[in-house]
Amino acid sequence: MAEGLAGERALVGGLVGDQPAAWDLAGELPVDLLRKLGAEGILCAEVPAAFGGLGASSHDNGELAAYTGSLCSSLRSIMTSQGIAAWTIQRFGDREQRRRYLAELTSGQLAAVAFSEPEAGSDLSAMRTQIQPSGGLVVIDGQKIWTTGARYADHIVVLGRYGDGAAAVVVPSDAPGVQVEPVPDPLGCRAAGHSHVRLDGVRLPASHVLGGGGQALSLLFTTALSYGRMSVAWGCVGIVRACLHAAAGHAKRREQSGKPLAEHQLVARHLSELLIAEQVSTRVCEYASRCWDAASADLVMAAVLAKHVSAGHAARSASTTVQVLASAGATDGHVAARAYRDTKLMEIIEGSNEICHLLLAEHALTTVP
């Protein structure tokens, strides 16, 4: 396994330590830790060095997301959000916006990206948030739900309608008319700062609209989500690794009926399934990262595949791990319990299992005449 970003990995490990259980129970991450990781460029490691980033490959950043995800999926979710924001700005922002915002995102400022609305999840056409030009300003009105990391964010990248197309606008979270309300008691990734965001007549200089706006909503959405899918996919690899580690360790040490659990064949089967899950999800993510790093058009579909395969394996692995650990893993905050709750959300965000199946089926049809 390549060891790019080894120093960054060590820094994450050192700063995180044994705190994820407490973060999960409290439902909050320490903001100073997020800013520290942000200032090291770790939260969006693929930002090119020319903009102050680490310039990591998709593969190395993926392994970093996996490592972080093996420790704490809430923190990995923050990485995902910051990374999507940076990627969206890098793609759609003009020169000045790229320079300005990417410097901020690699020096401690935090960003979230607002997609979902009360009436619009997978169905883009139902998106209602409006970004309207008004002189040299834009006025933003809408409601976003379940915006990951919005609770901690300095900037919220808001996707909305703009004329007959769409736009992404960088909204300072303290701008008048912005209201951020944390989701109370989320099922999983409890400390990831998921929030509902209300935008009521928010007026900003037009320079906050990425690239001047007027993109196709589909392009904006898929470009932003593709990064998110890569990050979630690798994060799920991390969850599977944490599960494998916890289950194998427990099965080796814990004895029942005079022998270690691992020597009971039905438990051994669980361990083999966990190993298979770890290998399969790693390989599918490596493939997607290879497509990404080679700038191949296949990356779009490979990201969906990686996300879907990894999330499914992570959900099954978490369930298996709770089964193997039994009472030893059945308390909130425990790595197995967190994985069990967090992975259900991974089967929903950045394209639910069902949406992934539809996209993959659509792709299957393009492969025949």
């Binding site: 090119p48 060095a49 020319a50 903009f51 310039g55 890098q90 793609r91 759609f92 922002g93 003009d94 020169r95 916006q97 790229r98 883009l124 007959d164 197309g165 990425l210 690239g211 001047g212 007027g214 993109q215 196709a216 589909s218 392009l219 959405f221 898929t222 470009t223 593709s226 990404w292 700038a295 191949s296 058009a297 990356l299 779009v300 579909m301 969906v304 996209l359 659509e362 792709h363 393009t366 005449p369």
Partner: protein, 103 residues
């Protein structure tokens, strides 16, 4: 996501770019599109394919399509995309190697 590879289509002219695009679209969309046919409004281009198209153009013509160039107007038709590719190749100079971070 900048392209390292050099163009397989060089020298690219408006005709060769448009032909290659019609070929690519025909292969993926299973239909022959006209040069002035609306691709997005007609629902021909799925959300996945929109991004594939951008990455495909970048890789095929060694260009970076960033920021204001990603406007829908540049992708509405084969003709619009052809103009975009020609303009970016000219602006960036296709022999300059890879697109830098600031593309």
């Amino acid at each position: 996501m900048t392209a390292e590879q050099t163009s397989e289509f060089a020298p690219a002219t408006a005709d060769s770019i448009a032909d290659a695009l019609v070929g690519f679209l025909g292969q993926r969309l299973k239909t022959k599109v006209a040069l002035d046919q609306e691709l997005f409004k007609s629902g021909l281009v799925s959300s996945m394919f929109a991004m594939e198209l951008v990455v495909h153009l970048e890789a095929s013509y060694d260009i970076a399509i960033l920021g204001p160039e990603l406007k829908l107007d540049n992708f509405r038709t084969v003709g619009a995309m052809t103009s975009l590719v020609l303009r970016l190749r000219e602006a960036e100079g296709v022999s300059r190697g890879s697109a830098g971070a600031d593309g």
